[in-house]
Every structure is written in structure tokens, then in C-alpha cells.
């Protein structure tokens, strides 16, 4: 089996069988993470470069650990401390990186579409680690992996995504991923943070969170970015917490064994109350572990792919 093409840019139009291959490959990878000796020789001699134009701790560290557990060499380039701050363009930076022999470039960039542009420019594989408000496919894949691990399936599940859908790359990738796997996606959040036309993706939009939560199997709480309040998109943090914050009473509306997920970092007391974040139904730490496993699977699958076309 093979991932078509050399890159992972987006989960839009990704076939269910490709998602299944990635999740199936992540399972044995997770077993490696739980070993005392967390290392297999699979990608010996391969180089993975993480190129981050935005701050990130967990995603970057997750990719670096994934590369290291597979014995690849991992190099990080943070935009603030590199030639990028001297005005080098993305394309030139990427050409320099590939000239040094990188096999995979993991890119986070504030502009939607940057990873796709990069993928067309260089021969190395490109993995999108978040581009603007467009997509964050590896986060969605780790969400799918976590839900499948806990629930045993994805098909037919009711998944609520609550929060700032408009600015969320996680939400967009999640919608494509869950929908491809046959789950029902419900979106809830303030009307000012709901992108117009989003229901064309197949997701259903709810203005009332409590209605959306009814019988839900998964509640994925998105992070509220504080700077959005200054833009006047919602009146205040307290009001947001009152209207759309996930708390114990609201969680009771979901299925009794519903999972609570959050891509991190959390604003406790705003989008999620501490007792829900630390409660028995929360799988937020499992998501972090699974993120490494899913990224190991992707690094493994992409280093074997046919290096010809941009696929997703």
C-alpha cells in the first residue's frame, strides 16, 4: 500500500482507505513509543527538517520525536532565528534546505497555501503542520486515531466541534477527516466565528451548543484565540464561557461515554472548565501521545512514496 504522491497537504478529498492506512500504521508505532528503548532503525540516514514560521511547542516537538524514534535526523529551523528574518523567501529557504539533502520538510506557515506552494517547488516530501486558517491535517489524523482507539470505530459517530470554527485549521481538517470516515460532524460556536457556507462540507451548523451536544460521542473543544476578542468577534471571555464553554452540566447532554478532546494549548475556564479538562472523559493527554505515533506513521509512509505528484 502507498500514500498517493509525496506530500500531505490537506485532508480534503483524501480517500477513506488512505486515512485507514495511516491509522493502521500508527498502531504499531504507538507500541514503539511505549517501549523502554524508543527507537527503531527504519529511517536511518533520512533527514527531516521542521520549518516553523509560527510559534509551536507541541507540534514541532511531536514531529521531532517521531523522526528521532524512527532514527531519522531531525533539524529545526525557527523563522525568528534564521535567514528568514533577513528576508529570504520561502521558496529560497526551501531550496537551500533540499540542497542540503532533506528528505521531508515539515512546514508551519501563517499563510494558507504555503505548504502546497512548497510541495510544487521542491522534490522533498512536504507535510503541512498548519497553514493559516486552512488546514492542520496531522492534528486531525491524531484526533481520528484517538477516537478510533477509544471507540473502536469512526463510522456513524456523532462528533461535535465547538468554538472558533472560522479561524481554526484544526476544525477544517477534522471536518474532512471525520466526514471521509463516515462520522457525523456538528459545528457549534458564535455566529461571528462560523464561516459562511461551511455546511457545504457536509457538517451541520448549530447556533445552540446544547442542541448540538445531544447524544454526541465526541466533543472536540477548540482553543479560543484571545486576540479575536479585540477584533470584536465575541463580546468577552466570560460571556463566551457562558454560551459555549464546555462544563460538567453541558457534558451531561452528550452520550455518557462521550470523549472530550482539545488540540491544546487550553484556556481553562474559557472554552473548557477545569473539571471537564481533567475529568475521566478527557483524552487530551492521549491525543498528545497519539500525535507522535501518527506522525511516525506519516514519516514512514511518505519516505516510500512515489516522488512524482502533489496528491493532497
Amino acid at each position: 500500500m502507498v500514500i498517493n504522491g509525496k506530500d500531505l497537504i490537506s485532508l480534503r478529498n483524501i480517500p477513506a482507505e488512505t486515512i485507514k492506512l495511516i491509522l493502521d500504521t500508527a498502531e504499531p508505532m504507538k507500541e514503539i513509543i511505549n517501549r523502554q528503548i524508543k527507537k527503531v532503525p527504519t529511517l536511518r540516514g533520512r533527514t527531516v527538517v521542521t520549518l516553523f514560521y509560527e510559534a509551536s511547542t507541541r507540534t514541532r516537538m511531536s514531529f521531532e520525536l517521531a523522526a528521532k524514534y524512527l532514527s531519522a535526523d531531525a533539524v529545526n529551523i525557527a523563522a525568528a532565528t534564521s535567514s528568514i528574518s533577513k528576508g529570504e523567501s520561502l521558496k529560497d529557504t526551501a531550496r537551500t534546505i533540499t540542497a542540503m539533502g532533506a528528505d521531508i520538510v515539515v512546514l508551519r506557515h501563517p499563510m494558507a497555501g504555503a505548504p502546497e506552494l512548497l510541495a510544487r517547488t521542491i522534490n522533498a516530501s512536504v507535510i503541512n503542520a498548519g497553514d493559516g486558517a486552512h488546514e492542520h491535517p496531522t492534528q486531525a489524523l491524531l484526533d481520528l486515531f484517538t477516537v478510533r482507539e477509544k471507540k473502536g470505530r469512526l463510522e456513524g459517530l456523532k462528533v461535535v466541534i465547538v468554538g472558533d470554527i472560522l479561524h481554526s485549521r484544526v476544525a477544517r481538517s477534522d471536518i474532512w477527516g471525520y466526514t471521509a470516515m463516515g462520522a457525523e460532524v456538528r459545528l457549534a460556536g458564535p455566529a461571528t466565528l462560523m464561516p459562511p457556507g461551511i455546511e457545504k462540507t457536509g457538517a451541520r451548523v448549530y447556533s445552540d451548543l446544547e442542541e448540538a451536544l445531544e447524544g454526541a460521542d465526541v466533543v472536540n473543544v477548540l482553543r479560543i484565540q484571545m486576540e479575536r476578542q479585540q477584533q470584536g468577534l465575541f463580546p468577552g471571555l466570560r460571556e463566551y464561557a457562558n454560551m459555549f464553554g464546555m462544563n460538567r452540566d453541558r457534558l451531561k447532554l452528550a452520550a455518557p461515554d462521550a470523549l472530550v478532546m482539545h488540540p491544546g494549548p487550553m484556556n481553562r475556564g474559557v472554552e473548557i472548565s477545569p473539571e471537564v479538562a481533567d475529568g475521566l472523559q478527557a483524552v487530551i493527554n492521549t491525543q498528545v501521545t497519539n500525535g507522535v505515533a501518527v506522525r511516525m506513521a506519516l514519516l514512514y509512509l511518505l519516505t516510500g512514496g512515489a516522488h512524482s505528484e502533489v496528491a493532497y
Binding site: 500500500m1 502507498v2 492506512l21 493502521d24 500504521t25 498502531e27 504499531p28 508505532m29 507500541e31 514503539i32 517501549r35 523502554q36 528503548i37 527507537k39 527503531v40 532503525p41 527504519t42 540516514g45 524512527l70 506513521a297 514512514y300 509512509l301 519516505t303 516510500g304 512514496g305 512515489a306
Partner: protein, 181 residues
């Protein structure tokens, strides 16, 4: 066209080979004290389970059985057109200080066993590792030799030894195939 050249073992033959190997494992290791069996995916897995049953019938004690997937340890990943499927490794016990018997259906170049040795050693530090195979078809490319062999089958490199087990294949026999030029 691939054609079947000869049948090497029938179900009875496979059964007798495994019974003999079970006896040899017990004899060589003076019992089942620190013994564990690890089957190499795919057909080493049912063979390891059968050996464990046989050993239990003979000695009484049950022997832990694990499953090893060697895909991530292959030495030919960089030369392949696409990555082979990775499946799970399930060794739910410590191998440190143990007598590990690796079990596979056919030994040929020895490269699978080389990968398996690395994989086992990443799980811990066994006291000793031994190798049991149903068929040894020769043509080794590495200095590796099985400790227990069901049947030695001299083959040419244009032939293939195929083990079929009812757990996986729905039939039970060992055949030699002649590969097309």
C-alpha cells in the same frame, strides 16, 4: 508461469516435524524454565502457537508466545518502490534473561532473521536466542543458521518454498514452486 513442482510436506508431515522440534527445544534447554517463543509474522505466528501447545502437552507448563513484525527493521526499505505495511509487534512479556526461540516458516537468505534479531534485542536482553524453522531452503546471504529445522529442502534460486497453514491459508502443506524466468 508459476507452477507447482513438488509437495514437500503433507499435514501429517508438518505435524510430525513440529512435534520433533518441540521435543528438541525441551531437550536442548533442559525443560521450559525461562523459555519464550516468538513467531515472526505472518506464518511464524501460528507455528509458534502450535509449538507452544505441543510443548505444553509434553512438559505440562505453558510457554509465553509473542508476535514479531520485522517490517521496520528491514534492510531493503530504501530500495523498495513503496513502503510495506507495518503490523503490530505483540510481546507482552519481558525477554530479558530469557531463552527466546524465534519461529518462522522458511529460512532463505537469512535477512528476515537478521532483522528479527535486531527487533528482539530492542525489546530487551535475552540470555540466548535460538531459531526454529519449518523449512530451510538454503541460499544464505548472512552467517545465520537455524537451531531447529523441520525439513531441509535444497532449492534453486528460481524456485520458492511455500508453506501453507490452515490458520492463514485454509490448507495445510508445503510445496515447491517453479518461478517463471
Amino acid at each position: 508461469m508459476t507452477k507447482e513442482k513438488a509437495q514437500i510436506l503433507d499435514p501429517e508431515g508438518i505435524r510430525r516435524s513440529l512435534t520433533r522440534i518441540a521435543h528438541e527445544i525441551i531437550e536442548r534447554n533442559k525443560g521450559t524454565g525461562s523459555l519464550v517463543l516468538i513467531g515472526i509474522r505472518r506464518r511464524g505466528v501460528p507455528l509458534a502457537e502450535r509449538l507452544a501447545e505441543r510443548i505444553k502437552e509434553i512438559e505440562g507448563g505453558s510457554v509465553p508466545v509473542g508476535t514479531l513484525d520485522i517490517t521496520l527493521y528491514r534492510d531493503d526499505l530504501t530500495t523498495m518502490a513503496y513502503q510495506p505495511l507495518v503490523r503490530s509487534t505483540e510481546v507482552p512479556f519481558s525477554v530479558s534473561g530469557k531463552t527466546v526461540v524465534l519461529v518462522d516458516d522458511v529460512i532463505y537468505t537469512g535477512r528476515t532473521i537478521r532483522a528479527a534479531l535486531d527487533a528482539v534485542m530492542d525489546l530487551g536482553r535475552p540470555r540466548v536466542i535460538q531459531l526454529a524453522v519449518l523449512i530451510d531452503r538454503g541460499h544464505r546471504e548472512l552467517p545465520i543458521r537455524p537451531d531447529y529445522v523441520g525439513k531441509n529442502v535444497p532449492t534453486s534460486s528460481k524456485e520458492e518454498a511455500l508453506v501453507k497453514l490452515h490458520e492463514i491459508d485454509g490448507e495445510e502443506r508445503v510445496i515447491i514452486l517453479e518461478l517463471p524466468d
